[in-house]
C-alpha cells in the first residue's frame, strides 16, 4: 500500500515537472519554427542572445525585462535574432553565476547582464569574453573592464538631480530628511552619493534624518510620520524612490501639514499624487531611469556582433520630469506601477500590468 502511494506520488510529480518543461519547450520550438520560416525569406544574421537578469522584484524590472522581450521579438521578425533566453536569479548572486553559465551552455552569441553583485559576476563575464561571447553589462554593472561594453544610467546623476532641486527650492538653507533605498545596494549608495555631492556644497542644509526605507511605501510612511510626530520642522525631503515620496506626501496630508518640496521618481503613481497635489503647492522633480535600458544594451551587443566597435561605457541620460511636464508623461489609464520613461506602447504596458 505504502509503495503504491509512493509510486503514484512520484509519477504525479514527474508528470507535472515534465509538463512544465514541455510548455517551455513548445514555446521555444515555436520560436525555432519562426526562425526557420524567416530563414527562407531573408538571410538574417540569426544571433542567439541571452539576458541574465538578477531579479524582477519590482515593476521597473518587470517593465525593463519586457522591453528586452519586445525588442527581441521585433528583431526575430527582422531576422537579426533567432532565439533569446531570459534567466532570473531572484537576487541570488550564486544562482546568477550558474544562470550565466547556462546561457553559455546554450551557445548564446551575446549575453547582456544586470548583475546581482558588481564583483561576484565579474569572473564569469570575463570567462565568457575569453570564449568570444559578447558581454554587455547594464544598469547594475559588473565590476570589470574586460567585457565588451557597459550601458548605465547614472545613479549619482539621479541623486544629484533631486538634490539640486531640493537645494534650489529651499534657497540652500534648511532642515531636510533623506529617504534611502536598501542598505548595501549599489543603486541606493550611488544615489545617496550624488545627493551628498550637492548637499555638501550647502553648509546651511542640515540633514536631520537619513533612513533606509528600502524604496518601500509602508516603511517610508512610518519614517515620515515619526519625523512629523517628533516636532522637527522639515523644509524638504530628498527621496530616492517614487513610492517613498508618495508615502511622504500622504503622511503630510494626513497630518494636515502643508507640503514641502520633495524629490520623486518617474513612476505613474507618483505622477498621479504629484498632479493631485499641484494645487496644494506641492513641487517636485522626478529623475527616472528609462526602462528601455535593456533594449539599448541589446542594441549595443548586436552592434558588437556585427563587428562595430562600441563604447566601453555608454551612459544613457537620466530623464527628468519637472512641474510643467507632468501631462506629457502621466497616463491616468495605466496603473500606478507603470514607469513613464519607456519605449513600450500603451497596449504593451497594459499587457504586462494586466
Amino acid at each position: 500500500m505504502k509503495n503504491i502511494k509512493r509510486i503514484l506520488m512520484v509519477a504525479l510529480i514527474l508528470c507535472i515537472i515534465l509538463l512544465i518543461g514541455a510548455c517551455g519547450k513548445s514555446t521555444k520550438e515555436n520560436d525555432e519554427s519562426l526562425k526557420d520560416s524567416k530563414d527562407s525569406q531573408d538571410s538574417g544574421s540569426n544571433y542567439v542572445v541571452g539576458f541574465c537578469n538578477y531579479t524582477v522584484s519590482n515593476s521597473w524590472q518587470t517593465q525593463m525585462e519586457a522591453e528586452f522581450k519586445y525588442a527581441c521579438e521585433r528583431l526575430i521578425e527582422e531576422g537579426v535574432l533567432s532565439k533569446y533566453y531570459i534567466t532570473n536569479a531572484d537576487g541570488d548572486a550564486n544562482k546568477q553565476i550558474s544562470d550565466f553559465k547556462d546561457l553559455m551552455t546554450k551557445k548564446c552569441d551575446a549575453i547582456i547582464i544586470t548583475a546581482a553583485s558588481a564583483s561576484a559576476l565579474s569572473p564569469v563575464c570575463e570567462e565568457a569574453v575569453d570564449e568570444g561571447i559578447v558581454v554587455v553589462s547594464f544598469d547594475s554593472l559588473v565590476d570589470t573592464s574586460e567585457i565588451t561594453g557597459k550601458v548605465s544610467c547614472n545613479d549619482v546623476e539621479f541623486g544629484e538631480i533631486g538634490a539640486q532641486f531640493i537645494a534650489d527650492s529651499i534657497g540652500g538653507k534648511g532642515k531636510i530628511a533623506m529617504l534611502d533605498g536598501i542598505a548595501g545596494s549599489t543603486c541606493s549608495e550611488g544615489r545617496t552619493e550624488g545627493a551628498m555631492n550637492i548637499f555638501n556644497k550647502y553648509p546651511d542644509i542640515e540633514i536631520v534624518n537619513q533612513t533606509n526605507a528600502d524604496w518601500d511605501y509602508a516603511k517610508a510612511k512610518v519614517v515620515v510620520e515619526g519625523l512629523l510626530n517628533s516636532g522637527i520642522e522639515l523644509d524638504a525631503i530628498w527621496s530616492q524612490g517614487g513610492a517613498m515620496t508618495q508615502a511622504a506626501v500622504d503622511a503630510f496630508n494626513e497630518a494636515g501639514k502643508s507640503l514641502i518640496p520633495m524629490s520623486g521618481e518617474a513612476s505613474n503613481g507618483f505622477l498621479k499624487v504629484w498632479k493631485e497635489n499641484l494645487d496644494n503647492g506641492f513641487s517636485s522633480i522626478c529623475p527616472g531611469y528609462p526602462t528601455y535600458i535593456s533594449e539599448v544594451a541589446l542594441e549595443q551587443a548586436i552592434r558588437a556582433l556585427n563587428g562595430e566597435t562600441i563604447e566601453d561605457l555608454y551612459v544613457l541620460p537620466s530623464g527628468s520630469i519637472g512641474d510643467e511636464d507632468i501631462d506629457d508623461y502621466y497616463n491616468p489609464e495605466l496603473p500606478d506601477s507603470y514607469w513613464v520613461i519607456t519605449h513600450l506602447t500603451d497596449e504593451q504596458v497594459k499587457e504586462i500590468f494586466k
Binding site: I13, G24, G91, A93, K106, A118, S119
Partner: protein, 313 residues
Amino acid sequence: MTFKVRFVNHYKRRRDIYNIYALLLLFVIISSILDKDFLTLRNLTNIFTTNVPFLIAAYAQTIVILIGGVDLSIGACISLVTCIMATIGTEGGWWSAMPGIFISFLVCAVLGFMKGILITKFGIQALIATLSISLIIGGFSLAILDKPGGNVSKEFSKPFSSDISLFIICTIIFILIWFMLNYTKFGKYIYAVGGNSLSAYSAGINVDVVKISGFILSGFLIALAGVVSAASMRSGDPTSGEPLTLKSLTASIIGGASFSGGKGYIECTFAGVIIFAIINNILNLLGVSTFYQYIAQGLLLIFAIAITSIQDK
C-alpha cells in the same frame, strides 16, 4: 542489537538512499531527453561547480538537523565570511588569503559555539536562536562591507575556484563527513542525540557537548562554503549568502533529513542538492520562465516531505 534488527535498519537506510538516487537518475534521464545540451561535460561540470557553496552549506545544515536543530543563520554566516575574505589580505600571492581564511574559520567556529550555548544552556529554540544570530551577523557584514565589493587575491581565488580543486575539496569533505557520521563514536552520538536526547542522556552521552560540537563542526563547514563562495565571486557581498539558508534547508529535506532529528544521510543531502540544481539548470536550458522554477522547487519540496512522512508512518 540482534542480527535481524540490524538488518532491517540497514535496509531502511539503504531504501532512503536508493529512493533519492533513483529520483536523481530519473531527473537526469528526463533532462537529457528534454534538452540536448544537458548531458554535456561542460553543463554537468557547471551544475556541480557553481553549486559548491550550496552543497557545503547543505552539509552544514544536515549536521545541525541531525542533532535535532535547525540553522537559519547559515546564509548570513556565509555572507560574513565573504566580507572577511574580501577585506583581509586582498592583494598578493595565494598565501595572502590565509589570514582571511584563518579568521573566517575562527569566527564561524565561535559563532557555532555561541549557537550551541544559546540552545543548550539557555534553552532557546534553535529556530529563534539562529534567527537572532543571523540578524546580528547580517548587521556585522554590512558594517564590514556596505555593498558588494572588496577583493580576494586573484592568485588565490583562481586556482582555488577552478573546477579541479572544487572537485577535490568536495570529495575530501564528503569522505570526511561520511566517515565521521558512520564510523566514529561522535557520529553515533549525533544520531543518538538527535533521535532521542533523553535516552541518549540516560545512556551516558553528554547531550549538550554533542550538540555544541555539532554546531561548531557545522560552523567549520559554513566557513568553507563562505571561502569557496568568496573565491568564485573574487569578492565579498554582505547579502550573497542569504538564499543559501532556505536552499540548504530545502536540499537537506529533499534528501530525507527529518526535522525531528536523528534521521538523514550526507549522501542523500548530496543528491538533494544536485536534484535542486538540475531543476534550475534544465529549466534555464529550456528557456522556461524563472517563475516556473519556483513552482518546480516548491513541488519538489512538498513531494520530498510527503515521501518522508509516508515512509515514517
